[in-house]
C-alpha cells in the first residue's frame, strides 16, 4: 500500500513540476511578441512529456503487474481451466508485443517529430506495400489466435462424456440451490416451475419416479474429483450466471432456457488447502449476471472431494421426500409403492392419508 501511495505521490510530484515549469514558460512568453513562426507555446515541454510518461509508464506497468501477480487466481483446478489459462497468457504475451511497439512509436514519434522551426514535414500520403503488410500480418496473427481459441472453445463446449456426474444448479434471488440425481437411480427427475413452493424450491415433479430419490442443498455443492461433472443450469426468477472462478467455469442461468457446462475438476479442496497454505480455503460459486440487490452475495460453497467421500456424502443426504414426506400426496397412485421406499417409515402413514395440502399446482407436466 505504501508503495502505491509513494507511486501516486511521485506522479503528482512530476506533474506539479511540469505545471510549475509550464507556468514559468507562459510568464516568459507573455513578454515576447507573437510572431508567425515562433514555436507554438509549450511545444518542447509537451514533447518531452511524451518521453517522461513513456518511461515512467513502462516502469509503472511492469512493477504493478509484478506486484499484482500474487493476487491473481491460483492455477486452475480443472483440466479445461488450465488450457484456458495457458491460452490467455499466451495471447496476452503475443498482444504485449504490439502494445509495446505501438505505444512506443506513438510516444517516441511525438517527441522526435515535434515542431522545429524551418523544418518541413514529409509529404507522404500513401504506400500500398506498407498498408498491405500491416493488413496481412495482423490477419495472420488473428487467424492463429482464432484457431487456438476455436479449438479450445469447441472442446470445452462439446457434449459431456456419458459417465459425467450430472448435477442441477438453480439460481434464484439470492442464492443457489443444487439438486442431485440421488443414489438409487442416478437420474434427475423432471421439474416444472409451476410446482415451486416454499419447500419445493426447484419445482421437483413428483409424478416422475426419477425424482423420488433426488435431494437438494441450498448452501453447498459437492463434486467428485477427476471425473467429468455436468452442471445443468436453471434460473427461477431472473438471469443469474454460475461462476466458479477457480474452475474457470461460467455459464448464465436463464429462466425458461436450461443451459449446461461440463468440466473435470482435478484438485480437491483438501489439496488446494495444503497447496495455498490456507486451511480455510474453499472453492466458491458466485453470480456474475446482475440479478438485484443481493447480486454481490449469492455465495455457495463448492467442495471437491475424492470419489469415496463424495459417495458417502451423497448417501448421507436426506432425499426431498424424506425431508417433506407430505409431498407423497403428489405422487400418482401407480407409483406410490415405489415412492414409499424413500420415505421414513414413521412419516409414511400420516403423509399418505393427507390430501394435497398447501402445495399448489398440478403434477401433470406442462412441458
Amino acid at each position: 500500500m505504501y508503495i502505491i501511495i509513494a507511486l501516486v505521490a511521485l506522479v503528482f510530484l512530476v506533474l506539479t513540476g511540469v505545471v510549475v515549469a509550464r507556468l514559468q514558460n507562459v510568464l516568459k512568453s507573455v513578454n515576447k511578441t507573437d510572431s508567425a513562426d515562433a514555436a507554438p507555446s509549450g511545444n518542447k515541454i509537451n514533447g518531452a512529456m511524451f518521453i517522461v510518461v513513456l518511461i515512467i509508464g513502462a516502469i509503472a506497468i511492469t512493477w504493478s503487474y509484478l506486484h499484482s501477480r500474487e493476487y491473481f487466481l491460483p492455477a486452475a483446478s480443472s483440466i479445461h481451466g488450465r488450457r484456458v489459462d495457458d491460452l490467455f497468457w499466451f495471447s496476452m504475451g503475443i498482444l504485449t508485443i504490439p502494445f509495446i511497439i505501438v505505444n512506443f512509436l506513438i510516444f517516441f514519434f511525438s517527441w522526435k517529430y515535434q515542431y522545429k522551426k524551418d523544418h518541413r514535414a514529409s509529404f507522404y500520403p500513401d504506400n500500398h506495400r506498407l498498408e498491405l503488410i500491416w493488413t496481412i500480418v495482423p490477419a495472420i496473427v488473428m487467424a492463429m489466435l482464432v484457431f487456438t481459441g476455436w479449438k479450445a472453445w469447441s472442446d470445452i463446449t462439446s457434449d459431456a462424456p456419458r459417465d459425467a456426474e450430472v448435477i442441477e444448479i438453480t439460481g434464484k434471488q439470492f442464492n443457489w440451490i443444487v439438486r442431485y440425481a440421488g443414489v438409487s437411480d442416478n437420474k434427475l427427475g423432471d421439474y416444472n416451475y409451476k410446482l415451486i413452493d416454499p419447500q419445493n424450491e426447484v419445482g421437483i415433479d413428483l409424478s416422475d419416479e426419477n425424482s423420488f430419490d433426488d435431494f437438494t442443498n441450498p448452501s453447498e455443492m459437492h463434486i467428485p474429483v477427476n471425473r467429468p461433472v455436468l452442471l445443468k443450469i436453471r434460473a427461477r426468477d431472473v438471469l443469474h450466471s454460475v461462476f466458479i472462478p477457480h474452475m474457470r467455469v461460467k455459464m448464465d442461468a436463464v429462466p425458461g432456457l436450461p443451459t449446461k457446462f461440463w468440466f473435470v475438476p482435478d484438485k480437491t479442496t483438501a489439496e488446494m488447502r495444503s497447496e495455498t497454505n490456507n486451511p480455510n480455503f474453499d472453492y466458491e460459486i458466485a453470480c456474475t449476471e446482475v440479478c438485484g440487490q443481493g447480486h454481490f452475495s449469492m455465495k455457495m460453497r463448492l467442495i471437491v472431494e475424492d470419489e469415496a467421500s463424495y459417495k458417502k456424502w451423497c448417501s448421507e443426504q436426506a432425499t426431498f421426500l424424506q425431508t417433506y414426506p407430505e409431498y407423497l400426496a403428489k405422487v400418482p397412485e401407480s407409483l406410490k409403492a415405489k415412492a414409499m421406499k424413500y420415505i421414513p417409515a414413521e412419516a409414511a402413514a400420516p403423509a399418505d392419508s393427507s390430501s394435497t395440502g398447501g402445495a399448489a399446482g398440478s403434477s401433470t407436466s406442462l412441458r
Binding site: 502505491i4 501516486v8 506533474l15 509550464r22 507556468l23 507562459v26 507554438p40 512529456m49 504493478s64 493476487y71 491473481f72 487466481l73 484456458v84 490467455f88 495471447s91 496476452m92 498482444l95 504490439p98 505501438v102 514519434f109 511525438s110 517529430y113 515535434q114 514535414a121 514529409s122 509529404f123 507522404y124 500513401d126 504506400n127 498498408e131 495482423p138 490477419a139 488473428m142 489466435l145 482464432v146 476455436w150 472453445w153 462439446s158 434471488q173 416451475y193 409451476k194 427461477r236 426468477d237 431472473v238 438471469l239 461462476f243 472462478p245 455459464m251 448464465d252 429462466p255 425458461g256 443451459t259 449446461k260 466458491e284 456474475t288 449476471e289 438485484g292 443481493g294 447480486h295 454481490f296
Partner: protein, 627 residues
C-alpha cells in the same frame, strides 16, 4: 428561409433577392434555432452537463468500491435516503448508479454529445453547405433529445430510484417490478426516455446522411471529403440501421411489462407466485439489444476517429497516411459491427457453434482497426508536430484505442471469455477503447473547433495541462482494473467482502478510486477553460491551426448560411499539407490547382482543365435559387 443573417450584405450582385429580413429574436436564435451551429452547441452543452452528472455517479460508486468502510453521510444532502443512517450507500442505489452511469455516458454523452455536436457542426461547414438538408428536422432532433434528457433526469428523483438492471437492462430483471425496485417506475421512465432518444437519433441521422449526399458544394466529390465527414456519414448509417432494432426491443419490453405479453418471459417463479408467462426468451432481448449495442460502440467511437484523423493530419503538417485505406477500414469496421453482436453473449447458453462464428467475425475487426492505428502512427512519422490541446488528445486517443483494443482480442476469443466475461477485465477494456478513447475524441474536437464555434480561443496551456492529467489519470484508473479483472472480480458488485476470492486487492481498488477522483477533478480545468473562453477567450483568427478544410474559409463568426456570398468551390482533397514546392505548408481545399503550379503533381496539372466546369456548377446552394 428567414434567418439568413449577414448574408444580405454580401449579396451585392443579386439585389433582387435582398428583401428585408427581420432579425431573429432570442427564441429563434438560441432556443428553437434551425441553424446547425446553434444546434451543435446545444448538443455540446447538454452533453457536457450530462457528462458531469454521469462521471459524478461513477465517483460515488468508486468511493463505495474503494473505501468500503467509509462513512458517506456527507453525501446525504445530495443522495438523501439512499445513504443509510449509518452512512452506507444503499445496495439498490449502487446498482442504479452503475446503470445510470452507463446509460448516460454511452447514449447521452458519447452518442448525442459527441456525434450530435460534431456531425451537426462540421458536416455543413466542411462540405460547403449553408445548413443541414432539413433545419427543422434537425431542431426536432435536438428537442427530442432534450425531452429524453428531461425524462431520464426526472427518473433520478423518484422514490423507487432510477432503472437499476445495468445499462443493458436485461429482462426478466428489468421486466419484473417485483424483482427490483429500479424495475418499477424508474424502468418505465428509462424506456420512455430511450424511445424518444432513438427518435432523436433517427431524425438526426437521416439529416446527416441526406446532407452529405446531396449538399456537397461544387467540386466536393466523395474522394475529397475530409475523413471527419466520412466518419460522420458512416456513423449515421450505423445508427439508422441499428437504433430501430433497439426501439423494437424496447417496445417489446414495454409490452411485456405493461400488457402481459411474453416476448422475453418464461417459466418464472418470483415472490411466491408462478407467473403465467411461457414461451418467451430472455436471450431474444439480448440478441436484439446487442444488434444495436455493438454498432453503438462504433457509433460512439467512429466520430472520435474521424475527428482524430483530421486533427492529427493538420497538426503533424502532413497528409493523413492512407486516406483511402482509412475510409476502407471505417467501412470495414462498420460492416463488421453488424455481425459480431453475439460476442457479448458467449456464455448465455447459445449454441456453441454460433459462438465459434461470432468469435471468428469479431477477431477480424482487429484487422481494419490495426490498419487505422498504424496509419495514424505513420502520419506522425516525419511530421512537424504542433502540440495543440486538440492534437494531444488525438494522440492520446490513438494510444487508448490501441491499448484498449488489444484486450478486445482476448475478450473476443470465446474460450477466454468464459473466465473473463462480466469481470472487471471487460470493464477496463471497454472503458479504454470506447469510453476514454471517444471522450478524448470529444475533447480533441472541442479544443480544435472551439475557435469556429465561439470565435474565441481556449487557453492553450490549460488545455495541455488538462490533457496530461487526464491521460495519465485514465491509465492509472484502467490499467490496474485489468489486474482486478484477471483476479476474477465480477462487475456490478456492491462490495467484494462476501467472497474469499475477492476479499483482497483492497489497495488496488482504493488506488483505482483515488485515480478516478483525481481524473474527475482534472476535468474542472476543462470546464473552467471552456466556459471562461466562451466569454473571455482571446479573439480567434480565421484559420488558427492553418488548416485546409472549408470551415476555416468561413468568417470567424459565421452567420446562418455560413459563407457570405457564394459558397466556396473545392478543387483538391483536404490533406495538402507540406506539399513539396508550395510556399506555405498548407493549401486549403478551395485553392485551384491553376494557382499552385509550383507544387502540382503531373496528374494534378491535368485536373486544371476541369476547374472551369467545377466553378460553373451550382446545384446545391439552397439560398441562391430558392427564393
Amino acid at each position: 428561409m428567414s434567418a439568413i443573417e449577414g448574408l444580405e450584405t454580401a449579396h451585392h450582385h443579386d439585389t433582387e433577392h435582398e428583401h428585408h429580413h427581420e432579425a431573429p429574436n432570442f427564441w429563434q436564435k438560441y432556443i428553437f434555432s434551425e441553424d446547425h451551429k446553434v444546434i451543435a452547441k446545444q448538443y455540446l452543452i447538454t452533453g457536457i452537463l450530462w457528462a458531469v452528472i454521469g462521471i459524478s455517479m461513477s465517483i460515488v460508486f468508486r468511493i463505495q468500491l474503494g473505501f468500503q468502510d467509509a462513512n458517506l453521510s456527507w453525501l446525504k444532502p445530495v443522495l438523501g435516503g439512499w445513504i443509510s443512517d449509518s452512512g452506507k450507500l444503499d445496495p439498490n442505489f449502487y446498482l442504479a448508479l452503475v446503470t445510470m452511469h452507463g446509460t448516460i455516458m454511452v447514449f447521452f454523452v458519447l452518442t448525442a454529445g459527441l456525434s450530435g455536436t460534431f456531425s451537426n457542426f462540421l458536416i455543413p461547414l466542411q462540405i460547403g453547405a449553408r445548413d443541414m438538408a432539413s433545419g427543422f428536422m434537425n431542431m426536432l432532433s435536438y428537442w427530442f433529445f432534450f425531452l429524453a434528457s428531461v425524462i431520464m433526469f426526472a427518473s433520478l428523483f423518484i422514490q423507487t430510484g432510477p432503472a437499476a438492471g445495468g445499462w443493458v437492462i436485461y429482462p426478466p430483471l428489468s421486466a419484473l417490478p417485483q424483482a427490483h425496485p429500479g424495475s418499477g417506475l424508474g424502468m418505465t421512465l428509462w424506456l420512455a426516455s430511450m424511445a424518444f432518444f432513438i427518435v432523436s437519433q433517427l431524425l438526426g441521422g437521416i439529416n446527416y446522411i441526406t446532407t452529405v449526399i446531396n449538399l456537397r458544394t461544387r467540386g466536393m466529390s466523395f474522394d475529397r471529403l475530409p475523413l471527419t465527414i466520412w466518419a460522420f456519414l458512416i456513423t449515421a448509417v450505423l445508427g439508422l440501421i441499428s437504433f430501430p432494432v433497439l426501439l423494437s426491443s424496447v417496445l417489446l419490453l414495454i409490452f411485456d411489462r405493461h400488457f402481459g405479453t411474453s416476448f422475453y418471459l418464461s417459466d418464472i417463479y418470483i415472490n411466491g407466485e408462478a407467473l403465467p408467462n411461457v414461451g418467451g426468451s430472455p436471450i431474444l432481448f439480448q440478441h436484439l439489444f446487442w444488434f444495436l449495442g455493438h454498432p453503438e460502440v462504433y457509433i460512439v467511437l467512429l466520430p472520435g476517429l474521424g475527428i482524430t484523423s483530421e486533427i492529427i493530419a493538420t497538426n503533424s503538417r502532413k497528409p493523413i497516411f492512407g486516406y483511402r485505406a482509412m475510409i476502407a477500414s471505417m467501412l470495414g469496421i462498420a460492416f463488421l459491427a453488424f455481425i459480431v453482436w453475439a460476442h457479448h453473449m458467449f456464455v448465455t447458453g447459445m449454441n456453441p457453434f454460433l459462438g465459434s462464428v461470432f468469435m471468428f467475425l469479431t477477431l477480424i475487426i482487429a484487422v481494419p482497426s490495426a490498419v487505422k492505428g498504424f496509419n495514424y502512427i505513420t502520419t506522425l512519422w516525419r511530421g512537424n508536430i504542433v502540440f495543440t490541446p486538440g492534437m494531444l488528445f488525438s494522440i492520446g486517443l490513438v494510444s487508448l484505442f490501441v491499448s484498449g483494443g488489444l484486450t478486445g482480442i482476448i475478450l473476443g476469443n470465446s474460450a477466454l471469455d468464459i473466465q473473463l466475461h462480466d469481470t472487471y477485465f471487460v470493464v477496463a477494456h471497454f472503458h479504454l477503447v470506447m469510453g476514454a478513447a471517444s471522450a478524448f475524441g470529444l475533447f480533441a474536437g472541442v479544443y480544435h473547433w472551439f475557435p469556429k464555434m465561439f470565435g474565441r480561443m481556449m487557453n492553450n496551456t490549460l488545455g495541455q495541462i488538462h490533457f496530461w492529467l487526464t491521460f495519465v489519470g485514465i491509465y492509472l484508473v484502467f490499467i490496474p482494473m485489468h489486474y482486478v479483472g484477471i483476479a476474477g472480480f465480477p462487475r456490478r458488485y456492491y462490495q467484494f467482502t462476501s467472497y474469499d476470492f475477492t476479499n483482497k486487492f483492497m489497495d488496488m481498488n482504493m488506488f483505482i478510486s483515488i485515480a478516478a477522483i483525481f481524473t474527475f477533478v482534472a476535468q474542472f480545468i476543462f470546464l473552467w477553460n471552456f466556459f471562461y473562453s466562451i466569454f473571455k477567450g482571446r479573439k480567434a483568427p480565421q484559420n488558427p491551426w492553418r488548416s485546409n478544410t472549408l470551415e476555416w474559409t468561413a468568417p470567424v463568426n459565421p452567420g446562418h448560411g455560413n459563407w457570405e456570398g457564394e459558397l466556396p468551390a473545392v478543387y483538391r482533397w483536404s490533406y495538402d499539407y507540406s506539399k513539396p514546392g508550395a510556399k506555405e505548408d498548407f493549401i486549403p481545399q478551395n485553392i485551384p490547382y491553376s494557382q499552385t503550379l509550383e507544387s502540382n503533381f503531373p496528374h494534378e496539372n491535368e485536373l486544371i482543365a476541369t476547374e472551369k466546369a467545377i466553378e460553373s456548377q451550382n446545384f446545391n446552394d439552397q439560398f441562391k435559387n430558392a427564393h
